[in-house]
């Protein structure tokens, strides 16, 4: 039994079958990659996990509980965080505030009326936020408005926000897209460190095979809304169907 | 030297506060009031031709200001909102040291400002306010109303309506849904029912309404043969225009010609209704033609019209007349009392009988501070010669006919209280 169990999930958009009969089991504290051609339904699947979309049929169990019917913030409080394909950050806030908010959410729950305390006096949260920013090499940008970051930096910031929550399950939708090689490598290192601690489960969508193969324990290949194969990285690399439909001559 | 009351004038001048609507729908009416105030101040200070001071029955005033102090004035904008009006009045009292506030073009504002003046200890000489409440439920010892009221309108109109349309009529009322509208409707309903008219329906219309078609349309089919529009200002212009559009003027009902009645007229607003007002009866506090048409019982009128017309180029409205008269009356009362103390002034005004201000013999009744004088019943002219000559006078109902007991049920519940000199 994995920490995440997706069973027979279907999702249609009008006539389009974005997901059909998707089954997926993610083992606790493993890194599970989902790859597949563009439009295969990868992001749609993640949307179903975090309450952004509700599957037409099927079930999604996380940590023994169903996530279906829960609001996004409740699902997050269960321990699922997500990095989006197009960065979702608080553009009007500073980089530092961007990472403090998830830490508050983790500590105080989905709502707390702390209207007369001072942000600056929350020592532990400030320190934690600093540490998180240091991890992603963004400490010197802490007072910039998030909206004025370059694309790659936005993506790093969003990663930091999710990591700061120490979620049980971290969903990463193309975390390194648009990142410079050097930072991609840093990110791989960072994720590998996390992986080494073995206390976070990660589900990663990525088109950069270098990233996928450096991190993943298992890989699911999704094509046209259905899982094509699921296996270890080595097996996937050599899989002819995958090569043809996805990797092309590069692999 | 006067002292011991709010804003006792200490220097060689005395300040009056003229609080009129300068913005909003009644701005033109307010502008006319302001003209009259300025004219009155001129006359009090001995400038110009003296206007009604020449005809006024009291000769306490000599044109040297009030009690020898030159009259100065400040102005403000009521916006026809009780809040704004009170703010403006307070600034006149607190900042400019006004000893008297006058003006306004709505009963809500009048009541609100009257209450303020009572608390602050200055005299309020109401401008245009027609609701029974101003000198009824909401009367105040420091407040005085020269203008007539809804009850008086109704009493004056009733005999005329009977003469014009008979005593077997079915009336349909449209009423502006606020204090004034209600008292107007209540009064006219009572008066017409006393004639034997039947009231078919009374529909309250929102003050903010601009199109009355959905209220007018069902009228013809309701069995009524008279439509009473208890509307004023923009409401009146629009509802009357709509009624005419729907052909009510030419219609017949119950075998009679259908009729429209507008109990309270305003010349300024009538202008907005254009030719639609032709033949429609209503009442006024005063009309600039009254002395010419009904003789010198109404003396003062021509003097005022002359003086105003020469200065501004057109005849004054009843709003202007009332504000002018109120200013003169106040000044005269101070002069007679020999003091600006509101209590002394009130005493001088209470029960005061005067003449020569254009309304014929008039009484400022002591028990409720309401003026009693003749009420002018008018009709829209069929072929007006110019935009100032829109109504013809049907008759002037003598004051006795419209006088009522201060405890009359439409006026009951109020308490004049004590005069308050403030400080």
């Amino acid at each position: 039994m994995g920490i995440l169990e997706v069973k027979n999930v279907n999702k249609n958009f009008g006539g389009l079958k974005a997901l059909s009969e998707v089954n997926l089991s993610v083992k606790e504290n493993s890194v599970h990659a989902i790859i597949g051609p563009n439009g295969a339904g990868k992001s749609t699947l993640l949307n179903c996990l975090i309450g952004k979309l509700i599957p037409d049929t099927g079930s999604v169990m996380f940590d023994g509980q169903s996530v279906l019917g829960r609001k996004p913030h409740e699902i997050n409080q269960m321990g699922i965080s997500r990095v989006f394909q197009t960065p979702e950050i608080f553009g009007d806030l500073t980089v530092f505030e961007n990472v403090m908010i998830p830490i508050f959410a983790k500590r105080d729950g989905s709502f707390r009326m702390h209207a007369f305390e001072s942000v600056a006096h929350e020592r532990d949260i400030v320190e934690e936020a600093e540490a998180v920013l240091a991890d992603v090499n963004m400490l010197e940008k802490r007072d910039l408005h998030a909206a004025s970051l370059s694309r790659g930096d936005k993506r790093r910031l969003e990663m930091a926000m999710c990591l700061s929550q120490k979620p049980k399950l971290l969903l990463l939708d193309e975390p390194t897209a648009g990142m410079a090689r050097a930072d991609t490598n840093n990110t791989i290192d960072l994720l590998n460190q996390i992986k080494a601690k073995r206390d976070i489960t990660m589900c990663i969508i990525e088109h950069d095979m270098h990233v996928v193969f450096s991190l993943a324990d298992r890989i699911t290949v999704l094509a046209q809304g259905t899982p094509l194969v699921e296996d270890t990285p080595d097996k996937i690399k050599g899989h002819p169907k995958v090569q043809e439909a996805y990797l092309g001559e590069a692999a | 030297q006067d002292s011991g009351f709010t804003n006792a004038p200490t220097g060689s001048t005395v300040t009056l506060g003229f609080n009129v609507p300068q913005t909003g729908p009644y701005a033109d009416e307010g502008a006319d009031e302001l003209r009259a105030f300025e004219l009155a101040v001129e006359h009090l200070n001995g400038e110009g031709d003296g206007g009604m001071l020449q005809t006024f029955s009291s000769d306490a005033l000599e044109g040297g200001g009030i009690l020898g102090k030159k009259v100065e004035y400040v102005t403000g904008d009521t916006q026809t909102k009780s809040d704004a009006a009170r703010a403006s009045a307070r600034s006149m009292i607190e900042k400019d040291g006004a000893v008297m506030i006058s003006g306004g073009s709505s009963s809500g504002v009048a009541v609100a400002v009257q209450g303020l003046c009572q608390e602050a200890g200055v005299i309020f000489m109401a401008g245009l306010t027609h609701s029974n409440d101003t000198t009824g439920k909401d009367k105040k010892a420091n407040g005085f109303r020269h203008f007539f009221n809804a009850y008086m309108s109704a009493q004056a109109m009733a005999p005329v309506l009977e003469g014009l349309y008979g005593s077997d009529r079915k009336a349909y009322h449209l009423t502006a849904d606020y204090t004034w509208g209600w008292t107007q409707q209540e009064s006219i309903q009572a008066a017409t029912e006393a004639l034997g008219w039947e009231t078919v329906n009374n529909v309250l219309t929102p003050l903010a309404a601009t199109d009355f078609s959905s209220y007018i349309a069902p009228v013809l089919n309701s069995g009524a043969d008279v439509l009473v529009l208890n509307h004023y200002g923009g409401n009146m212009v629009n509802s009357l225009t709509n009624a005419v559009q729907f052909g009510l003027k030419e219609a017949t009902a119950n075998g009679k010609d259908f009729q429209i009645v507008v109990p309270l007229y305003s010349e300024l607003m009538a202008r907005g209704a254009g030719e639609n007002i032709a033949g429609i009866p209503g009442s006024q506090n005063w009309d600039w033609k009254i002395e010419n048409q009904l003789g010198d019982r109404y003396k003062g009128t021509n003097a005022f019209v002359q003086s105003f017309g020469e200065k501004y180029g057109f005849p004054p409205s009843q709003a202007a007349h009332t504000c002018y008269a109120q200013t003169i009356l106040y000044a005269d009362a101070v002069q007679r009392a020999g003091s600006f103390n509101p209590c002394a002034v009130a005493e001088a005004l209470e029960g005061y009988e005067f003449d020569g201000l254009g309304n014929g013999p008039t009484l400022y009744r002591a028990s409720d501070h309401q003026c009693f004088k003749d009420v002018v019943v008018v009709r829209g002219k069929e072929n007006p010669e110019n935009e100032f000559d829109l109504v013809e006078i049907v008759e002037a109902t003598p004051a006795e006919k419209v006088t009522y007991d201060p405890e009359h049920e439409m006026f009951a519940g109020g308490n004049l209280g004590e005069c308050n000199p403030g400080a």
Binding site: P72, H73, N76, S81, E88, F90, G91, L93, E97, M100, I101, P102, F104, A105, K106, D108, S110, F111, R112, M113, H114, A115, F116, S118, V119, A120, Q165 | Q22, T23, A27, A31, L34, E38, Y73, V74, T75, D77, S82, D83, A84, R86, R90, S91, E94, K95, S106, S107, G108, V111, A112, G115, D133, D138, D177, Y178, T179, L204, P206, A208, N415
Partner: protein, 400 residues
Amino acid sequence: MLGLNTKDTWLLVIVALMTLFAPFLLNPFPANSSLAQFNAGYPDLMQRFVIFGIFAIGFNILFGLTGYLSFGHAAFLGVGSYAAVWMFKLLGYNVVPAIILSVIVGAVFALLIGFISLRRSGIYFSILTLAFAQMSFALAYSVLTPITNGETGLQVYTSDPQYFQRSGAPDIPHFFGLEMRATETLRMGGWSFDINAGYYLCAAVLLVAFYMAIRLFRSPFGMMLRAVKSNQQRLNYTGLNARPYTLAAFVISGMYAGLAGGLMASMDPLAGAERMQWTASGEVVLMTILGGAGTLIGPVLGAGFIKYFENIFSKINDGVLHGWFGFLPDGIENVLVTVVHPFVGKGWHLTLGLLFMLVVIFLPGGLVEGGQRIGKYVFRRRGRKAGGAEAEAARKQPAE
């Protein structure tokens, strides 16, 4: 101090000093000079400045932080006023229960309206709040007259019970015997200054309200509200429930509005229905934007700006103009009066409209931004002289 950082402490101190000395600051011209017209230091206007300041501060907590533009905030001000007057009618003229009830009633109303309206966002939210407020206004004006006294406005009558009005207590609103209207006029040379009890009560309340707003702006709660404005989706996916945050902000700002309403009735015991009309709601929106939405002091400045024009400019008539220009030859005097005439007195709206336009066009971000720019400009020039400008510009460039 008081749990604020230095900058905020300074801000608070400055505001405190300004409110404390307002009677003097606002009456800079000798009472008999022709410029006395521009003096704003009389009780009514000073009270209005602070009361609308409170209203705008509260509005800004909602709008400035969350970006939810309520177009019906005047409704809370209105119910606050009604509640206060009812307290006068039932209990007596002490303002304390009146003010307390007005805050509570403001909160309850805001909770109801907010709970429903916050189901929608953006313009849909604005129109929902507008609709509720307009309904309240229309009903208060007509059907609810027994409670609101309709067009005239709710007043205290001598026949009202006033169960707790002790004999000997003032017959007008008072604070444990201190009449709100009590005014001491100080005359110094040609100047005269009004020290008014009601004003200082309002000013004290303003300071508390302002202090709480600072705390709130700097609190985690305030940060969450800004996050709502920035990206509500993200907030939800971060595990925070945006609804209770926005609702709490809505209720708090409703309480500020109720408080303002209560104070208004305490200074002048009459509650008019027009207080709830959309124009009144629009006014607080304008005040906030004009001053600078999302800034702490902006709304207060905006409130002062609008109230100043309404009360001072509307009172300048031709007579006053002739007074000013009287020293000039007649011809010039008349020309000047004719030129200025459309902008003052009954033309005060025109001036206000023009100023609205000029402020937004030239000072995006409102008066506060304008102030900052001027500050920066002055600072720069000084800096340049000292040769620091280049250094500063260099620092601005990306590192290396």
